[in-house]
Symmetry: C3
Subunit: 665 residues, 3 copies
């Protein structure tokens, strides 16, 4: 997708207001420097008032007005929330929980993703919308559905059951294949026909893990089918208009790597909690993920809040300067858009206390002013558009492994993929080592350093990929409970972690999870001491050296953290969850040894730094001060302020929550 | 309702015992000084054994025996808990939760309030009871249903859905009115027909707030319709016998102000927890509410426990003297009755461990003795009957605002109306400033001081009422998040709190709820320091002066508590929840400035004092020592002990948990 | 059941593996000294692939192979988990929760115990299995079902409702009997026909306690009927092969005393948590219960984990030596078997992380070695087989009383039967006083000392039994809230605890539960001080002396713990839950006074000691060191090490987690 200017603006819902307000909307958009409006995300009930009755008038007029005022439109397919009449005519389109509770209209996203009735109605609507607006001058981008998986990511109804059976039949061919894959010889679960198979509804005891895993795959696929049905319609009408759907941050129910293949441009909704002091690290992770999903191409920050949201227990506003800082964080990590939900704050409905560009009190407000100021700044940065961010390091993650890791009936049941990912990502962020988030089957040869947090599930291809990466010179850090099961959650026999025993030079004989709230000492080979939590294990060395041993408890003196040279590379292994200091030291050393280079070494703590480079080699250094105090930061020689154009000298002072974009020729 | 003596006694359930026990009951009632028995609350299954079969014999004999022994009867309509045969013949009368779970017989109150089948059966039964006992000499009072809303206050079944649609059609006329009121343009919720509307059953995401609010109104009304159907029957048969239903303390699901209009006398069930040290303050609030609901007329303490209840996690008995103290608390705040649940402790059933006047061990027990002693005392206080309590202050509350305040999707979701009410009420109780609890649309001109805790929802009439109150000289304290939405939970546009911006002289630009467990400093203009919790906000002064500013955090230095002279009155505003000391100091100063006068200034802490005044001007001062140690209390000159008749002198010593009723001529 | 050698081995599930693995299984069994394999527990879906299709081939071959290698078989009836095709053909066989949620296949035990369809299919299968294998040379023991009540112990479906009505009709004869028993005069619950009665499905308020109690009895009986239907079939085919089902530890839903009558040998599954430091005391309780259930005859440890389990939040392995120690604990308390779940660790399925004799990594592992070593040791102890353990003390427990005790609507709702039992059992364990766990209606004359923890429900027979026990010289300690209700949860009138007032010499006038987390002081008559938690009460002495009084609070100075000589015996009463020290001192003194003798006085703390005695008088002293350090232990003269045969001298040192079996001639 090519942009002439930053996509700046956001969700615009004129249907919530009398048309008399719209002219004022246009004027305020102009003052705020808005270039793009997302229209119609929840428009279905407004444009289709019954199976055969439509009213597109308001939408025509809104789009015309936007076009007239030079605002581009990201046009939604309006299928995210079906109108009440559909639920009344077809209650079987409503989703059902594992316990059998039907979910009703009154919120949003109340549809069974597998429902043929829902899909028919959705496709027919999209057909109509695409036909109507294919040539509209404001149209820039198609927005399919909305935040797939946000509220309803699985449905256990009979319609879904039928679809699940079909999906399984396609995957396994015959029921013997299913029995083998699901290990149904255990607990008398052998199927004699696909007709007997059901979604993992509430069971008396521990559910079958492979059934659960496949149901999560199926559920992601069922939603993706909805997306693709709509995309096909749009493509037919507008082959040149890019298509996207807005991905949430780390939505467990949606396999982003699978979905990303079908997006013309990656777009993302980001809602960090201002009450959390270190939330920007998790945000950085998500932004890196979005960039990686698009293969490094610029992505779109499709939604963020101008200030507070409305759906947490306590909803803090963004403090002065915080919205600007966090917007530039997206740009710094590859976004060519800064878009908000929403333009004018709703008077009623579930999100009337969600902030907006134009608050209840109108434009004479801090929030409106900060948005408008940012709009003016972004207009001065057209050169940044399309530039790229390069990463030396990669963090591997895989949705199937995530689903399997967090299932029941494990040595420890509170393993969290997100926690593990962030525990490994944070030291890299602190060290300003730019990191991609990539699928473990991806080509890793471009990375100097790879971290593998709790990659529980690996198939043979992935195992081979990682081994080859190290053999040919890569440096890799893998944490415990990786490489344990295959794609159907069946243990790789022969001692843990069977696929990586040789690579790592260890044999894990037994998992030894610590008691809840328990900890174990770590004696490091450099004389330091640390602490492990959550997990320990009985490791036998088979070629590795111990970098740390457990100190105290049943495993006292046995290896806890190991290192092995393998081929031309190095493989580290962590048999516990080390404290943050030990983790940080370890990863920094390993990264340095690997040759992964920090951006702007010497910047003070709490200052995030990334680099975007244009095709012609111009570099933009983004310096983001997350501290609530000012700090001095060294600047490379020859740098200028990309917004003001002034020379920066050798050092600048970043205000609290301050931002500097240094242009390097 | 006119009484010759205190209504003293309580629930009498002779159907639980062989008739051979009843003569002993009469003898024990005599010894305890019992004047009134409530009969038949759960009698339905005992008097009606099938659709067409009845057995009133036991009830006839019980009422005759009571009449013979001079005990008046509060006769229940027996409709609180339908018999099992009704559920078997008509399972559709059973209520259904929002999740779709049907609630079955085995407890009590298992009926859908909207069920026409339930209503027909109830009305037919009441018709039969009213006809049978209309002229019974023991009959004093009708008791309709029981504790409406205690266990089942809402029903989401299809029958309720139909009734809800009818209620909405009457309220809004057409579906466009509904769409406007419910802001259905948000999230694609627009209805094209009332047929599509449902109760707010389980939804995937945040439910529509206006739908929820209307459903709570409808649910209170549906129960009220049940009450009124029965009342109409009773009125037809016994136009002169008063009718009541026993209201719980602060039952969220029942709009007391609406219900009170239909009661001939207000009656109340009070079950404080002896394990909670300050429970008497909440009890005082409830008693003041009951008095206020009846327009200041005496009310009836219809139920309390003689000692322990059975339904908390740990059920403490009332300590020696505590039952007496708390009984006089009711009288002190306007009750002309002291009634208990129940007379004889049940041998079996769900409440066999609920205390009773006659315990399992019989009358040679502490509990029976304390009841009988109190009965003898009350017999010496006939002059108190019918006397009134006068209040200088009022605390405003409104059920619609309560429902709306505690809904989801607010800046902070743990706002509690009861907590807010008590935080404002407690300082007044401590200062012995008698306070009425009144609806915000009521005439406020009789009050010198009005407090408005978190009155989130206000319509134009209420806004005008409060403004006029201050303009004409009233003093008012309003706390944050008041005046935010209209009657359909739609924000009053134009800056918060739009209806009160001028009155208060402030503009709240943004809500700034504190993090969970967080706090913010308060710097008071008098040099003191305090702490705010739960909430803060960005206040712009527009005519008010700051009495306190925030100290620390993003809002440091901005106004936190304000004061404005407006017309002939004064309006205070609280932008946070101050600590108890700050709140107490503020309210005491403001009340004093307003001219709200304490009853008996100079009494020690922990001693509650109220005054009842007869028509002829005799005053009774109730002094209640909630401390567990004795304290000296000053007494007005000329006072005598209303029970013993002795002169009190200048000062008396109140025993731990002691009570004194001082008669002032 | 007669054994030639310890039953050593466990669950063997060859159906989970290719037959090519089976020869290796046989070789590993030989190396581990395995004598018995449990086959087919979850075999249903493997042997019956549809209503009329069977495949017993794999089972034939497995049993033949085991026979060939000299391994006996405990053959399961395979009915514990029905195959998916049954659920599809007969969804009405699936169980339903009180809330109405159906439980689906995917785990195990998904059947309604009352379902005639399930029962017909189960009986037909057992008929076929019994016929096929009645004469198989490997067959040693029948294993019916599996861990009854583990996941599904109650079902609330319409089929269960019908069965419940039949059970009630048989129990009460007519509906008047039911009404009387269930106290239905309370809350209008009177039934006019059994047709109106339902299981205690979700109710709006407190459920009827007698209905709940009878439903728990019915549910235990419904499962027992399943067991007996299968047992009848087996008995017809193999009158001489013993029958058992594996009982869990303290399964609340299964009345062990009722079930034990129908077992030819008691068998037990034991899964202590290695993370809990004192779990061996609870384990000892369960082992004593199993021995007592079998009337003192040897029992079988049917299942334990070789190391970790998979179903806790954090699953710790058994540390080196711990499995051996805990295995001998079972033998020490009367087991003639040490069996494990399972032989080879599953590759897939819900329990793939449950340890096994042969781990994922194979036999070159700590776990396999420790099992094999133990097998070799046990082979040297044939003389122990069939020997008995004698107990001086008894602890009384009754499932009906347990069910009733832990119901809602009590003075305190967090009363726990298991906690109470263990609080009374632990001091006896610490004092090495061997204790049987017996039903309160049992003959107690053989015991010197009886403890009665919270025996809430007692009928007249039990009351008479306990009184007679003390009258004729027994010593008894009873704790609070005992003797309160009859068999239908109706209070014994006349002052608590009515049946025992004379025996104990006390009258409890009021229960006075402490606030949550509250405590009360105890002043002991010997000058010591202690603390009570959970409960206190207002005790009037009527012949007893106070051993302790409450110190502080409303009951300060009133009796807390009492003692009375009654007839030739002594009765103690505890009106609170004393701290562990006070409890220990009290019980040790009382036991000593009663003449209950410790096994091996003088052994250090943390060392468990029991004695098994053969018919010819040979005694085996089991010394088990639960400490994680070595301790010296005195040994009786003439003792030899039963395994090595060496003389032990006067004192031995037990290693950390060490075991010694001393043979005394």
């Amino acid at each position: 997708m090519h942009l002439d200017a930053f996509a700046f603006g956001g969700d615009y819902n004129p249907e919530q207001w009398p048309e008399s307000v719209w002219d004022s909307d246009m004027e305020l958009m102009r003052r705020a420097g808005i270039t793009m409006a997302t229209v119609g995300v929840f428009g279905w009930a407004q444009v289709q008032t019954g199976p055969d009755t439509f009213d597109f008038g308001w939408c025509d007029r809104a789009l015309d007005k936007l076009a007239e005022h030079g605002v581009g439109v990201c046009l939604a397919t309006m299928t995210a929330s079906p109108p009440p009449w559909l639920a009344r005519l077809h209650p079987e389109t409503l989703p059902v929980t594992a316990e059998g509770t039907r979910l009703w209209p009154g919120g949003r996203q109340h549809y069974c993703p597998s429902s043929p009735v829902y899909r028919e109605h959705a496709v027919a609507l999209v057909e109509r919308i695409a036909r109507r607006y294919a040539r509209h001058p404001a149209l820039r981008l198609w927005h399919i559905g909305n935040e797939y998986g946000c509220h309803v990511s699985t449905c256990y109804c009979d319609v879904s059951a039928e679809a699940f059976r079909g999906w399984l039949a396609r995957r396994y061919g015959d029921v013997d294949g299913l029995n083998e894959a699901w290990s149904t010889a255990f607990w008398s679960q052998r199927y004699t026909s696909f007709d007997e198979v059901l979604p993992p509804r509430t069971v008396p005891a521990i559910p079958n893990p492979a059934q659960n895993l496949d149901f999560q795959r199926f559920s992601s696929d069922a939603m993706l089918e909805c997306f693709l049905l709509e995309k096909d319609v749009l493509r037919a009408h507008t082959p040149d208009v890019p298509v996207t759907t807005n991905l949430l941050g780390l939505a467990k129910s949606v396999d982003f790597f699978e979905w990303a293949r079908h997006q013309d441009v990656i777009s993302h909704d980001s809602y960090p909690d201002p009450h959390r002091a270190d939330t920007h690290v998790e945000v950085a992770f998500n932004y890196d993920l979005m960039r990686s999903l698009g293969g490094g191409r610029p992505w779109l920050l499709m939604e963020q809040a101008p200030s507070a949201v409305n759906w947490r227990d306590r909803n803090a506003p963004k403090a002065p300067g915080q919205m600007r800082l966090w917007s530039y964080q997206a740009v710094a990590r590859g976004s060519d858009a800064v878009l908000y939900f929403q333009f004018r704050q709703s008077r009623g409905g579930a999100e009337r206390f969600h902030s907006a560009i134009v608050p209840h009190a109108g434009p004479r407000t801090r929030v409106f002013r900060e948005v408008a100021d940012l709009g003016a700044e972004l207009a001065k940065l057209p050169e940044v558009l399309g530039s790229r961010v390069r990463a030396d390091a990669a963090l591997l993650m895989d949705w199937s492994s995530w689903w399997a890791l967090e299932a029941e009936s494990h040595p420890a049941t509170d393993l969290s993929q997100v926690d593990a990912n962030l525990a490994h990502y944070r030291p890299l962020w602190e060290a300003r080592i730019t990191t991609d988030i990539v699928h473990p089957a991806a080509d890793l040869s471009r990375y100097r350093f790879v971290v593998v947090p709790n990659l529980y599930l690996v198939d043979a291809d992935v195992a081979a990929n990682l081994i080859e990466y190290v053999r040919t010179g890569g440096h890799l850090v893998m944490s415990f409970f990786s490489g344990i099961v295959d794609g159907n959650d069946r243990v790789h026999l022969g001692g843990y972690p069977a696929p990586f025993r040789e690579l790592l030079g260890v044999h894990v004989e037994e998992f030894w999870p610590l008691p809840p709230h328990g900890a174990v000492g770590l004696a490091l080979s450099d004389g330091h001491h640390g602490t492990g939590t959550l997990w320990s294990e009985w490791i036998n060395l088979e070629g590795a050296e111990a970098l740390a041993t457990f100190a105290g408890g049943e495993l006292s003196g046995r290896p806890a953290i190991t290192r092995r040279s393998y081929g031309a590379g190095v493989a580290y292994y962590l048999g516990t969850k080390p404290d943050a200091t030990t983790m940080g030291t370890l990863l920094r050393k390993a990264a340095a040894e690997a040759g992964a280079v920090p951006v702007l070494p010497g910047a003070p703590a709490g200052v995030e730094v990334t680099e975007r480079r244009t095709e012609d080699g111009t570099r933009f250094l983004f310096l983001l001060n997350h501290n609530v105090f000012a700090v001095p930061v060294p600047v490379p020689p020859g740098a200028t302020d990309a917004i003001s154009g002034r020379d920066l000298g050798e050092q600048v002072t970043l205000d609290r929550r301050g931002v500097l974009i240094a242009r390097l020729p």
